[in-house]
Symmetry: C2
């Protein structure tokens, strides 16, 4: 039987949908072309890559926003047998140079406004032999990078004839995405031809997104983030009209594109959906073409779901990981939920991450490896495996061994599973408080504390305890008017009315500010260090 290759996705797309359209919000305006134009340019790009000396298995990096040029790289690179490495412009220079060297990238394709980022790295990335700048014209901006070429200029001189190889192994590497881990250097997640192909089926299933040729998909999820949640491949395969949001789109740009291009479907993090909603309070846009939006990245508040439902737009909650190619769960209601559940029940349920997608095998286990009860209460770590889930990171045996054990990917996510099999993320394994053999969700505790009217922010960590192994300790910042007035006892008393007794922290520490990581998350590591020092000092 035939191998599953990315080129098959490309070839079907141009065969059936040559006249379908792609629209790109470009640096200098709106760019439009057809799938046939796209295909021809993918072939030109493959010829360009060959001329740049790229061979099978070589890594080709992109540092780019969502554009038709980025999509051309998505196809030309793996289809010719090389490996696409999408760089995240938001990484620190240390992480960026680390992953470029680790992947041994041979060439970097750079959007024009991102040139300075690479200029800052140029003395540390010795494997890179060529730079290509992607602008709307064939002009090369002033830059310290060398040798540097213009994307449009190279393509214009290349032949649109290219025969993509048919003899690739479906298990060969097609793309690399590094996770922006909070600890240590980023880890390279492996995407093979097989895994992209299979995952493109899964992302389009009726119970996942149900997208078809009739949809117009707008790429909001950055294409440098987990391969844009695989939808660039899926949307191309099915021949959907695609809209690329370009560099730094603001809420107005997004709304304008939805309205102008009659976008039917998109996916984004809740911040984006919230931003659009806020804009709609003061400006009018017609978003009625949207038949569904998907929320990923972090859980949405119920108010956000409800606001979109009020506009007649189903707001679906999903959850994914770079390690598994984005899609892990989607929260679609079952038949009996729609038929038998109250509106309230249904809404509360929408906050859960949902059912694991078809094809992924999963279990949730406690510290001893025993599967937990499906009662929506017991917590355990989510383990995953499946026909598109890799079993190691790229060239990283040590950290692979920490994450991939007995064929299972240990996600580090602590979840509950309800009676319907829907999972809800409760914490990270490293943050959960292990008290007397039971797990306490630091996340749930933080959310509950923040419901107290005096509290601005809360952060809960586990501190060592001689009898219970660990006990929760809460760090709290108070709202301006409450400082010096609200006491520990107030907070603890409040919590006692909201949760079982053994979940309530033994102590509350008031601080002026809770330390944050570089991406704005609560920095629990620093807090743990502070707590440990205090403990020693006692």
């Amino acid at each position: 039987m035939r191998e599953m290759l990315v080129k098959h996705i490309l070839e079907r797309s141009v065969k059936f949908f040559p006249k379908k359209e792609m629209v790109s919000r470009d640096f200098s305006g709106t760019f439009r072309y057809t799938y046939k134009d796209f295909y021809d340019r993918v072939c030109q790009l493959a010829n360009v890559l060959e001329d740049l000396g790229i061979k099978r298995g070589d890594r080709v990096a992109s540092l780019a926003w969502n554009s038709h040029r980025h999509l051309e790289l998505y196809f030309a690179v793996p289809c010719m047998g090389a490996v696409l490495h999408t760089l995240n412009p938001r990484l620190s220079p240390e992480h960026s140079s680390y992953i470029i060297n680790h992947a041994e990238d041979k060439v970097i394709f750079i959007d024009e406004d991102l040139l300075p980022l690479v200029e800052g790295l140029k003395d540390r990335i010795g494997t890179v032999k060529n730079f290509v700048v992607m602008t709307d014209t064939d002009k090369i901006p002033e830059t310290k990078l060398s040798p540097i070429y213009s994307y449009e200029s190279l393509l214009s001189k290349a032949s649109p004839q290219y025969i993509f190889p048919d003899d690739l192994d479906e298990n060969s590497l097609a793309a690399l995405c590094y996770t922006s881990g909070t600890t240590g250097m980023p880890k390279g997640c492996i995407h093979t031809h097989r895994s992209i192909y299979l995952h493109s089926y899964v992302a389009g299933l009726p119970e996942t997104t149900g997208v078809t040729e009739k949809d117009t998909y707008m790429h909001i999820v950055p294409m440098f983030h987990a391969l844009g949640w695989i939808i660039p491949y899926l949307a191309t395969w099915i021949g959907a009209k695609q809209v690329f949001t370009g560099p730094h789109p603001d809420n107005r740009d997004l709304c304008q594109l939805i309205q102008d291009e009659k976008v039917t479907f998109s996916m984004a993090v809740p911040t984006v959906w919230r931003g659009i909603l806020n804009l709609l309070e003061t400006e009018r846009f017609d978003l009625s073409s949207l038949r569904m939006v998907i929320n990923g990245g972090s859980p949405p508040p119920l108010s956000l779901i409800e606001a979109y439902e009020k506009m007649g737009i189903p707001y679906v909650h999903g959850f994914g990981l770079t390690d598994t190619h984005a899609w892990v769960t989607v929260n679609m209601p079952r038949k009996y939920m729609e038929e038998e559940w109250s509106e309230e029940q249904r809404r509360a349920h929408m906050l859960r991450q949902g059912m694991v997608v078809r094809g992924l095998d999963w279990k949730v286990v406690d510290e001893t490896g025993k599967e937990i009860k499906w009662d929506g209460k017991e917590m355990g770590e989510l383990l995953l495996r499946g026909p598109w889930v890799p079993e190691a990171y790229y060239k990283d045996p040590e950290r692979s061994a920490e994450t991939y054990k007995d064929g299972w990917l240990h996600t580090g996510d602590v979840v509950t599973v309800d009676e319907d099999g829907y999972i809800e993320i409760k914490d990270r394994v490293k943050d959960v408080v292990k008290s007397g053999g039971e797990w306490i969700s630091s996340l749930d505790l933080e959310n509950t504390i923040m419901n107290h009217p005096a509290v601005l922010e809360a952060c809960v960590i586990g501190i060592p305890h001689p009898k219970w192994e660990e006990r929760p300790l809460a760090y709290v910042t108070l709202k301006p008017g409450f400082k010096g007035k609200t006491t520990k006892e107030d907070i603890i008393g409040f919590l006692k009315t909201k949760m079982v007794k053994w979940w309530v922290p033994d102590d509350v520490v008031f601080v002026d500010e809770i330390p944050k990581t570089s991406v704005g998350k609560l920095d629990k590591r620093t807090l743990r260090e502070i707590a440990a020092k205090k403990h020693e000092g006692k």
Copy 2:
């Protein structure tokens, strides 16, 4: 990355949908159970198979109608590593004994009313060591077969604990379906774990059927025919409620089941859909739960499509082959067809077989191997390949070499492709008339001749011609009142007004009856022999 195995389909189904229901129209009434009950019995069946001495790779045959027991075999056999061989009760004894011996079946599971069929073969099928009869009770009917066991009795004694092996190769054989070819002995089509798994994705895609857990699927397509067009696997995977139509369902049974079980989706040959329609003229049933039906097996007349559309039930035209696991094309309209086409244009288009499903690679070539033009007129042979398409028949190198060439399955179907990429079947390669380097569809000619008011039936064959290679010759039977009155010239004159001149047969032969094959098709082989003899006699 993990192998794709049938057991993963089974395991997901019981994990997520233990309470969902299966309903079987059994020999003695209606049988119901849950997916959990089903799973337990699949485990029991696996233990039974082990006790019967079945090892990995052994072939296990079924001769059965659509029932929950047949579905249990669909899963227990491949999940334990053996190979399911579905026998077609409509094959001749010669073909049946040939394929049982060719597959070297070790055991046959037989529905009670089909025992006489196997009794008639028993002295010719030496590989079969055991027979199991499937009845509603644990009683064994009187029979000459030995040793024979009762399915229900064996299961009732078996443990519902079974660990399905995890170390199967996804490319290992999971099922065998023999094609009931019109010439020669049937050929064994290979289904691997991988191909069943992948094809179950494809059959459920939004642009194919879009089935989900919310659907209630009724199995009309015989489960002994191309694995029930793969839907038994798909429906189980997604946790849809399943309705099995049991032995010899008539139109009333089908309507009753649709009404009682609120069936939302089913697939069948046009004869079945016509039969239901006819019944509805005299009896009332509520079929409003149906959200879609699919037509396969042979093309539907437009009147049938329209009759279902009038009832508010979309009637979708598909086309498949046992060799590719059923699904080759589905005719779903594209966005611009829905938006821009007239009703008339759209309806005419529905008669085409449709677009090749996502994942199958295809081309249509003329005799020289050159791809034909997409103009809806040029004809060529449809070639297929893909990640679930085998590259040989089971243990049949000679005939494999005839059908599988250069990695392509040569379907033997002559088709046109329109500008939208939708194919229409025009003929079989062996029946098409090759005249002066161009192809004439014998099927189109026959249909046109039958539009003449005097014609009852027509059959067109190609006969050798010194200049044009072949020319069409028409055999015609006239309606009772027209015999002796309608002349050759009438028919030829009529055809000249309907088609290009070179398509018109040079001669028309009136006969009392056109010879038919055992399955009721026009027997063109016999007609060719008759024509050849006449030719010699001249």
